[in-house]
């Protein structure tokens, strides 16, 4: 089982570090990361493995939102993307 974390907002130091640290804390393995910065605008997408995770997806979302202020964060199960974009 995988989930997708997406972070969008104004670029600053340590966003990726923060997200990966929290993932490590909850025992979610990072599988893939893509990140880009366009004129101070930070966009990151991370695919994580949640099968061994030690908390619920909603707890992970809360932790991330609490730690990274002022950015838009989404944590969504991969099934929603698979069902919408694959036949």
């Amino acid at each position: 089982m995988k989930a997708v974390i997406s972070v969008v907002g104004k670029d600053k130091v340590g966003i990726l570090a923060m997200v990966s640290n929290i993932c490590a804390e909850v025992n979610a393995n990072v599988i893939e990361v893509t990140q880009s910065v366009l004129q101070d605008f930070f966009v990151m997408m991370m695919v994580i493995d949640i099968s061994e995770m030690n908390c619920e997806l909603s707890d992970l979302r809360e932790k991330l939102t609490a730690n990274i202020m002022g950015m838009k964060i989404h944590v969504m199960h991969e099934d929603i993307f698979n069902s919408m974009h694959r036949i």
Binding site: K2, V4, S6, E32, T34, M45, V47, E56, L57, S58, R61, K72, H74, V75, M76, H77, E78, D79, I80, F81, N82, S83, M84, H85
Partner: protein
């Protein structure tokens, strides 16, 4: 492998374009709750609904968390209560109060099924229930009511049509101090679907299983945004194609949520209703899709054609995406719930006559239309009869949900709030159909061949 642009597309749809699951509706059969004593019957109804649906809200919230997709409403639909009234006798409002109480206790947003199916005639319980509707809607908060007065196979029960005109007026009068909210929770159907998850017309048909999960998706904003991105140069074949593809994606999400909810609740999955259901929020409007297709305003000449294409393309995309499509499935045109429709009605571009034409090609009917408070019951019956005739002849569902604004005249506004929005009082042709309506009887079922 997941693709970045797909992920961004989904997130944008949810964040910017108001994509949501409008409702998870659990259909519950109450046929095994019948008892000759109304108090015992009500107790059984409460127990059964509570037992089946106690986890509905919790599961809905869990799914919302898992996929990050808003699920706006959790609802329950039940067997038409008139069937229980026939067995138990007594005051049907007792049932309405029971439904309202259980709805509040399990935390759902609406409960539908204070209904009667009288397309060919009245059986015991039907008349009592229909006559009690105004009181039931005035004394409860969450109960929704519907009456099916015609079908393509049976014709139109004009006695019921006459009664419903009066019932709608009375429902408005009893709730005049609350923005006439009563009739906003009452739908008069022709060809009512048995598995519709959308309110106010949801009920659990007698042909349905004991308990079932139906899902209603929504997303007019997504369709509009997709068309806006494509620009004004593409031809209508391509427009239809874009709508179809977008409807496919929306429905896939409904299918995912429905299967997940049914697995978590241990209840069979029924259908996905792939309707484009607008809300008063800016950007969540069916009228704006029609305007994006290329009309100056909704209601202009060409509106019916644009809506016909939209409705058909939505169905085509949805049918490909889910093997169990049902309910109303198509585009809704509720005036008070759609920012673009409200604007068009206020400016006078959209009239009831044009809306009636639009209902011949959309998925429901005259929906959430506020009419002057002085409109006589016979004229309301006339509106119902016209709408039912369109449904009967075209073998489609049509419905009437009009709200007489007691004490208000054309140009005034009723504010319902929430998903129901606000509606300007629209002009109604007041010439009287009294003699025809008072004749009663039945309009025979139409011929199904020699179609011209």
């Amino acid at each position: 492998m997941l693709n970045t642009s797909d992920i961004m597309e989904t997130i944008t749809m949810i964040q910017e374009e108001n994509l949501d699951i409008r409702t998870i509706t659990m259909g519950i059969s109450l046929l095994d709750c019948c008892d000759s004593d109304i108090n015992r019957s009500c107790e059984k109804v409460y127990q059964k609904i509570y037992r089946c649906a106690k986890d509905l809200v919790k599961v809905g919230n869990e799914i919302e968390q898992k996929y990050g997709i808003p699920i706006i409403n959790k609802r329950v639909s039940v067997t038409p209560i008139a069937m229980l009234c026939g067995a138990s006798g007594g005051d049907p409002v007792e049932y309405a109060m029971t439904l309202d109480r259980v709805a509040k206790d399990i935390g759902i947003n609406f409960i539908g099924g204070y209904s009667a199916l009288v397309h060919k005639g009245f059986s015991p319980g039907d008349r009592e229930l229909i006559e009690s509707i105004p009181r039931a809607l005035a004394t409860t908060d969450f109960v929704c009511s519907s009456v099916n007065i015609g079908t393509t196979k049976a014709g139109i029960n004009m006695d019921a049509v006459r009664t419903m005109g009066k019932v709608i007026r009375e429902a408005a009068e009893l709730t005049a101090d609350r923005q006439c909210i009563g009739p906003a929770k009452l739908v008069v159907f022709c060809n009512a679907p048995e598995d519709n998850p959308f309110m106010a017309g949801a009920f659990h048909g007698p042909g349905e299983p004991d308990c079932v999960i139906n899902v209603g998706v929504s997303g007019p904003g997504v369709v509009r945004a997709a068309l806006a991105k494509a620009g004004k140069d593409i031809d209508l074949t391509e427009v239809a194609e874009i709508i179809k593809k977008t409807a496919f994606k929306i429905t896939r999400m409904g299918q995912l949520v429905g299967t997940e909810a049914s697995a978590r609740l241990g209840v069979p999955f029924g259908i996905v209703d792939l309707s484009l259901a607008p809300t008063p929020a800016v950007g969540d409007s069916v009228a704006y899709i029609l305007e994006e297709i290329g009309l100056e305003t909704c209601g202009a000449c060409g509106t019916t054609a644009a809506l016909a294409m939209l409705n058909d393309a939505v169905k085509k995309g949805g049918v490909m995406a889910s093997s169990s499509v049902g309910g109303l499935s198509g585009a809704f045109i509720p005036v008070s719930e759609d920012a673009g429709m409200i604007a068009a009605a206020k400016s006078g571009a959209l009239t009831i006559e044009k809306l009636e034409a639009m209902t011949a090609v959309c998925s429901v009917g005259l929906d959430m239309i506020v009419i002057p408070g002085e409109t006589p019951a016979d004229v309301i019956s006339g509106i119902i009869a016209d709408e039912a005739a369109i449904g009967m002849v075209n073998s489609k569902t049509t419905a009437v949900r009009v709200i007489p604004a007691i004490g208000k005249v054309q140009g005034d506004v009723l504010e319902f709030g929430g998903l129901l929005g606000s509606g300007p009082v629209m002009k109604v042709n007041m010439n009287s159909p009294s003699v025809m309506i008072s004749r009663g009887g039945r309009i025979p079922a139409p011929l199904q061949s020699l179609k011209n």
